[in-house]
Subunit: 371 residues, 2 copies
């Protein structure tokens, strides 16, 4: 089994491209991880997700611990076998969904107690339990348990929340079983406060992780502030380790974050947008449900090589959405994931060629013009 | 362009196997046509439907005339191009759905006036309009407009309804544009009355069609009565032409009807059952939502080579249905279509080998034991 490892192949200013090696294979960075919340990327066969160019998927600990349970997934061969994805998987720790989805949650030093949003059953999640669950799922990349600080937060609240997350990070590290090819990431918190972000990064570095995530962003603060916090945070993270911006984002978020040295992303935007009829095209989005597409024989994007654009007209996909046919969401999810993976491939190629700064300038310019 | 043509290769008593040649390719008979109601087999990519072994799909004139309209489909290249299925397509005439789905319908000698179940807009369907619509859709096999006689019906009502359908059949034939490779089928009606079925078959033969369908069955009369009516009807149909039993059926319905000389079938059972969690396995069905499957690491059917059975456990598919994930219906639809097409392949092979009578006896025995 190879060691968990990150090799940087090319750098251009802060941006870098490389390979993360895991127990289930390699991840080309910068990488976008499609979200497979409940052990499936909604509407997609795993081989189709792979065909878009994805090297790694994200699974949600919160959803899987509630249904079907980590123990059931383990009994059925672990998450890779369960969902027929034999490549790398990262699982979040559940902290974010506990905050955003569960009911009656109560946070103590020990952990968080909450009621399932599915059946109301009470669960208790601690750093130790989060490690156990992710081990049962057999995640290649395990995330430390953190409290996702609500936004906005006063500096005092943000500091208290971040320091709790740091104590949980230390317990996560202690409870994590080291295995060759498997990695554990810490999560930087601290809201929008540079001194707190610095403190958090320093604590995590001292504990020592295989990678460092930036949490608590893309929660309503806006792109400008997100980029500013990122500038203040990445500065304090080790050059040598993967950096993961959690839950981000739009194409321009991603390009801007890669400029700032981020290597990994996950987001429900491409899949959720696709299910709701929105398709990414160069420079913006289109809503296939708009009446103007009803008799349009052109593909969603004439430059795109995904199956939706190769075989079907806008008029047909418009019809599928109007008729509430599953194939509509399936085709646009596929298209959007293809768009995102193609964007990542272009980003990696630009960094390799040394013209990513130029690429980003053009790309962000186009995106802004379309707004 | 080849002529529309039916060649019988092998016969065993009433059962036969052969090839129907159409403008968009060949259909191996006995054939099962998956239903693509609104220009999509729900949840399936057309290449996946093809991979199960389907040679031909059925499209619903009623649904397509209402949404997106036959004119829109024509503008977007015809139904084959529209839905990316370049193989044969049969469209029903809309008669059955007008009866079962529309509101405020009024039948006159001229045709049927009804309100769309989607938006309440009033439509008028005549034999001439049904031919025009199916021409716009570019169906390889067009069905004459008929009134689907409700069940049960008195002999008097059944006779009046059948005779109206026969006058519509004559007008359908007159309005149908003959093109090489395209066929028009007439539909035998007459409810459960042998004399009416005979009269209907005789009228249709005199008009002259490329194939003969048996309509008005599988509407609640039960399998025994359906088989009896089929015995009374097939007798009066020409040996040389394809016979199509509309809207049928279960695996045992199909095997029993092939024994009685039927060549073509369509039914929503495999796709609808799949969407609701029911999977066909040899000798019966299973409901994947049952709790007994939650931790079952076996495939739905260990003898099946479909993607659902090759790559996934019952436990995983159970989880997908519990979590309301699209992939659950997708996988079981695929499995059921594979089961049906595999059944048709076994039927064709048995007729070719001259042991279909034996096959049917065993198959129907197994099905009955499971009931």
């Amino acid at each position: 089994m190879p060691s968990f490892n990150f090799t940087i192949h090319h750098k251009e200013k802060q941006a870098r491209t490389g390979i993360i090696t895991t127990a289930h294979g390699e991840i080309r960075t910068p990488a976008f991880m499609p979200v497979g919340t409940a052990a499936t990327v909604k509407g997609m066969l795993p081989e189709s997700v792979r065909a878009t160019g994805a090297d790694i998927l994200l699974g949600n600990t919160y959803h899987l611990m509630l249904r079907p349970s980590a123990e059931t997934v383990a009994k059925l061969g672990g998450l890779h076998r369960f969902m027929n994805w034999e490549r790398p998987i990262l699982t979040d720790s559940g902290g974010f969904q506990v905050m955003s989805l569960s009911k009656l949650r109560k946070i103590t030093e020990d952990g968080v107690t909450f009621q399932s949003h599915i059946d109301g059953v009470t669960h208790h999640l601690t750093p130790e339990r989060a490690m156990k669950i992710q081990r049962l799922l057999d995640s290649d990349i395990t995330m430390a348990l953190d409290e996702c600080t609500p936004y906005p937060a006063s500096e005092e609240d943000a500091a208290a929340s971040m320091r709790l997350s740091m104590r949980w990070a230390e317990r996560s590290k202690a409870a994590f079983t080291t295995r060759s090819g498997y990695g554990l990431f810490g999560i930087v918190q601290g809201s929008v406060y540079p001194n707190l972000r610095k403190e958090s990064a320093e604590v995590l570095k001292k504990i020592g992780f295989d990678g460092y995530a930036v949490g608590g962003l893309a929660v309503g603060e806006g792109q400008d502030l997100m980029f500013r916090v990122l500038d203040d945070t990445v500065l304090h993270l080790p050059e040598t380790h993967p950096r993961y911006l959690m839950g981000v984002g739009t194409p321009s978020d991603i390009v801007g974050a890669v400029l700032r040295g981020v290597d990994m992303f996950d987001c429900v935007i491409p899949t959720r947008s696709g299910r709701f009829g929105r398709a990414y095209v160069e420079g913006g989005e289109l809503n296939i449900k708009n009446a103007c597409h009803a008799e349009d024989n052109n593909p969603v994007d004439a430059t795109c090589t995904c199956p939706a654009c190769t075989h079907y007209s806008r008029g047909y996909i418009h019809h599928l959405f109007k008729a509430h046919e599953m194939l509509g969401p399936i085709l646009l999810t596929w298209h959007n994931l293809h768009y995102y993976q193609n964007l990542m491939a272009r980003i990696r190629a630009a960094i390799t060629a040394g013209n990513f700064t130029e690429f980003a300038k053009t790309f962000l310019g186009v995106q802004n013009r379309e707004k």
